[in-house]
């Protein structure tokens, strides 16, 4: 018991492995948010007129929401002080040159940042065959493998480039899944987003490699407002990875990203995330505030969108990757592992909106809480009136590693069609004492046993991650547990 407690204590206390800041000259505009700031961001990004209009429309909408503090979204099971939106700088781009042609032009400091993370860009490129669109703060600094992808007609570039070169596509799809009116943070993002990734897979093309971006928040006092747009045309397939780590900062850093996925007829999109942002220190000071809107739409018949996530970071996580199942026979999946420790708070889950006929969705969520953290699953399953023969299965398991943490489950099932079959089940428990005893009896130390059991608890989800990501995910989970368990 004592070693157990000690181990748990250590996990809770363990310092953030990736907590350092790199000095890169950056181009930051003053704090505050006004129409002038929106215009300035737009100018810096060299936006076309329509984009500026979009931003301003979103900003004006956001202002109506932000005017009244009572209207700030407060329904989540999260406790944090009001965010002062005028105390944040809304644009920060790594300085010197705005565009790079090759990696050689990239600030060496920046490359070192990636090396420190154990994901050197160069190596990654060669070894894993992953095209990396690295986003440090807000501007895309390197996009690799682009030419190879271009041969297949695949567009994979930064959002800025996409606006410049594929304006019609961006215009057609941007905001079609997450409109600026969707929620508070989506409106904010639509107004101030600085960059992100854009991906288009043409009909009947199977993307030969995992597409990947790495996000980092790197400028003190700057928010990061990413925007990702993935369009999979008829019969195409793509697997997209997003991984994050952020250096240690004292003040809370706001992150409000938007991810939109469109899957046309028979297309399949697999979106995997590892989120490991700075969670704040043991007193809950600092840490990233992560308010993300992720949503995909299965537009065409037979399409499929699958979300897999490993959430270990951020002080506050507010994230519900969702799927709108519009096409008949479309499939939505959500696999998640959320690990919280220290004073972290996570309120995460999914939304499955069944609209088409014969649609199905699966939700598997595993929550692990340690220390003084609170980990909530919040998921909506809605079966619309015309969604005949919809099928949903949801399973949410929580594990508690300590007697001062919380694990919560808030499922919402809204059924409007009698042919629907919707099942939800959830369990909450601590690490099985019998299992621990069994392991220890066979000479496995208590902390190794806990690691083993936690890893087994998450196995189902981690197995869904693409190969190279799964390795990193396991490593990350082990590191996270290391500090806190054993």
């Amino acid at each position: 018991m004592n070693t157990d407690t000690q181990y748990l204590q250590e996990v809770a206390d363990s310092d953030y492995e990736h907590g350092w800041a790199v000095d890169i000259v950056s181009d930051t505009i003053p704090k505050g948010l006004t129409e002038d700031v929106i215009c300035l961001i737009s100018e810096k990004k060299e936006d076309p007129d329509w984009m500026l209009e979009n931003r301003l429309r979103a900003f004006r909408h956001w202002q109506t929401l932000a005017r009244d503090k009572d209207k700030y979204p407060r329904w989540a099971h999260l406790d944090y002080p009001d965010i002062d939106f005028q105390d944040i700088s809304y644009y920060s781009a790594p300085g010197s040159k705005p565009k790079y042609k090759s990696l050689d032009e990239v600030d060496p400091e920046l490359l070192r940042t990636f090396e420190n993370l154990g994901i050197p860009l160069e190596e990654q490129k060669v070894l894993a065959g992953v095209a990396v669109d690295a986003v440090v703060d807000s501007v895309s600094v390197a996009t690799t493998f682009k030419e190879e992808l271009a041969k297949l007609g695949i567009i994979f570039c930064s959002f800025t480039e996409a606006i410049e070169n594929h304006g019609d596509l961006v215009r057609k799809y941007m905001g079609s899944v997450v409109p600026y009116t969707d929620n508070f943070y989506a409106a904010l993002n639509a107004a101030v987003f600085s960059d992100g990734s854009f991906c288009y897979i043409p009909p009947r093309v199977r993307c030969p490699m995992e597409l990947s971006t790495y996000f980092r928040i790197n400028q003190a006092g700057t928010g990061q407002f990413e925007r990702t747009l993935i369009v999979a045309d008829e019969g195409s397939y793509v697997s997209y990875l997003e991984g994050c780590t952020a250096p240690r900062r004292d003040e809370n850093q706001l992150h409000a990203a938007v991810v939109e996925i469109i899957a046309h007829r028979d297309a399949e999109v697999k979106y995997s995330t590892i989120q490991n942002w700075y969670p704040g220190d043991s007193q809950g000071k600092g840490g990233v505030l992560n308010f993300v809107t992720k949503r995909g739409i299965c537009k065409g018949a037979g399409s499929k969108i699958s979300w897999t996530q490993l959430e270990t970071g951020s002080a506050i996580t507010w994230k519900y990757p969702s799927v709108i199942l519009q096409g008949d026979h479309s499939v939505g999946e959500f696999y998640s592992v959320a690990f919280t420790k220290g004073r972290q708070q996570a309120d995460t889950g999914t939304k499955m909106i069944h609209i088409g006929r014969n649609t199905s969705s699966t939700i598997i969520s595993k929550g692990i809480s340690a220390g003084l953290s609170n980990n909530s699953y919040r998921g909506l399953v809605r079966i619309n009136k015309k969604a005949a023969n919809a099928r949903n299965f949801a399973q949410c398991d929580s594990m508690l590693l300590g007697d001062r943490c919380g694990a919560h489950t808030f499922p919402y099932l809204e059924i409007h069609n009698p042919t629907a079959q919707v099942e939800h089940e959830a369990t909450t428990s601590k690490v099985g004492e019998d299992q621990l005893f069994y392991c220890q009896q066979r000479g496995i130390s208590e902390q190794d046993a806990i690691k083993l059991l936690v890893s087994g608890f998450c196995q189902e989800i981690l197995a869904k991650l693409p190969m190279e990501f799964a390795v990193e995910a396991r490593k990350l989970l082990a590191i996270e547990l290391e500090g806190s368990v054993g």
């Binding site: 508690l400 629907a420 959830a426």
Partner: protein, 432 residues
């Protein structure tokens, strides 16, 4: 009698005005405690107001249009309560909120058991000691509203160690020629080791709109075993907000069964707090909703102390344009180690104009616990229907049989066996 509705007034103001009229009528006759309590509750109610449309716990139930009607607290009335056939209970009847001794059959109650009206002066001390102690009205505007109108009510007191073989049945009947606001209040105090069954039902003997806002407070003494059943069957223009607050002492057992068979908007707020170790709690519910009926079961199982067990099981059948809501929460507080809590919600949706919203929630702050919940919503099992039809049973009859057996799952678990027939009868009537 009927207030003229001013469209612009806040609905709360109309209830406050009604309070003033009602208060003027009833200031005499009750003990001193009540006027103060009433005033305090009214102040609380007018400060808090009704829950806003968008609040999380009222997300799926819009009671606004119901509350905007001009209701009056009814005067004394006379009506014959129909009761429940074959229950064989000790019956206490309240008509329009006032105790009706002539219809009550309490004479053969064992001597030391009390079933009385709040106005009974011999019970004043007991009522004062317990009233509004278990149902806090600070955060519950409907409870505050009820408390503001507390005048008469049913007191059930069970002395230590007594075991009652027949149930106690409290009937609230309402009759009025105008839109009536009935606010029944029930207080059940069981001392250590007492065993009894309490059945509560409401009867609406008018076609006018009725809003029933009831509050039931129950204290279950140490090692006591109490079964509490609530039957709601209203006219299509009856709305029902039922607040039940239960406080359990050490090693006690409590069963709560809530059965809803109609009404315009029905909202049950059931909250159970086992505030000592080794308690057992069963929380069961069944509703059959037809027409445009809206039934919302909002439950809270509040585990505050270690080593308790609770099991919640709610079922619903939704036909025609009905809407069902299950909003159940199991809360395990930090010290409530070794809690075992289970929660299940199953619903059958029969038409594509019916809606079911299910929100079974677990909120857990202790690690050494076993908690699980499950929710399923679907239609009748096709294989089951086929099986019955293959044996020559007509389609509608097969459907009826399956629905009855679905409901039977909850009915059979009702501890008062004499109630099974009553409940089956209601379900069969609604499924015809």
């Amino acid at each position: 009698m009927v207030n003229t509705a001013n469209v612009t007034t806040r609905p709360e103001d109309r209830f406050v005005a009604e309070f003033e009229r009602f208060e003027a009528l009833h200031t005499n006759g009750s003990s001193e405690h009540f006027p103060l309590l009433r005033q305090k509750a009214l102040r609380q109610f007018s400060a808090t107001g009704f829950p806003p449309r968008k609040s999380e716990s009222w997300k799926y139930t819009n009671i606004g249009s119901i509350l905007r009607r001009p209701y009056s607290a009814p005067d004394t009335g006379t009506v014959r309560a129909s009761g429940l056939d074959g229950l064989g209970a000790y019956v206490a009847v309240f008509v329009n909120g006032h105790f009706d001794a002539s219809q009550s059959t309490l004479d053969d109650l064992p001597e030391d058991i009390t079933v009385a009206s709040f106005t009974d002066q011999t019970q004043a001390g007991r009522v004062r000691a317990h009233l509004a102690r278990y149902a806090a009205f600070e955060h519950e505007p409907f409870t505050a509203l009820n408390t503001a109108f507390v005048h008469d009510g049913a007191l059930v007191h069970l002395p230590a160690g007594i075991a009652l073989s027949r149930p106690i049945h409290v009937i609230h009947a309402v009759t009025a020629s105008y839109a009536a606001l009935l606010q029944p209040r029930t207080l059940v105090i069981s001392e250590d080791g007492a065993q009894a069954q309490i059945v509560q039902s409401t009867e609406v003997h008018t076609k006018m709109p009725v809003l029933i806002n009831s509050v039931t407070e129950i204290r279950v003494g140490a090692r006591a075993q109490l079964d509490h059943l609530m039957l709601q069957a209203g006219t299509p223009s009856t709305s029902n907000v039922a607040n039940v607050s239960v406080y359990q002492e050490t090693e006690s057992k409590f069963y709560n069964g809530s059965f809803t068979f109609g009404g315009e908007v029905v909202r049950n707020n059931i909250s159970i707090l086992p505030d000592a170790e080794h308690c057992e709690t069963l929380m069961h519910g069944l509703f059959v909703a037809r027409g445009t009926s809206h039934v919302d079961n909002n439950t809270l199982m509040d585990h505050a102390k270690p080593n308790c067990f609770s099991s919640e099981y709610y079922k619903g059948i939704l036909d025609e344009h009905a809407t069902g809501v299950f909003n159940g929460k199991v809360l395990v507080r930090q010290d409530a180690q070794q809690t075992n809590a289970y929660q299940t919600n199953r619903s059958i949706v029969l038409t594509n104009t019916a809606h079911m919203y299910s929100k079974p929630a677990l909120e857990i702050y202790a690690d050494d616990v076993k908690c699980s919940h499950g929710a399923t919503t679907g239609q009748l099992d096709k294989d089951g229907l086929f099986y019955l039809r293959a044996r020559g049973i007509r389609a509608d009859e097969a459907r009826r049989l399956m629905l009855i057996s679905f409901a039977g799952d909850i009915i059979e678990k009702v501890p008062a066996a004499s109630l099974h027939r009553v409940l089956y009868r209601e379900v069969e009537r609604l499924l015809r």
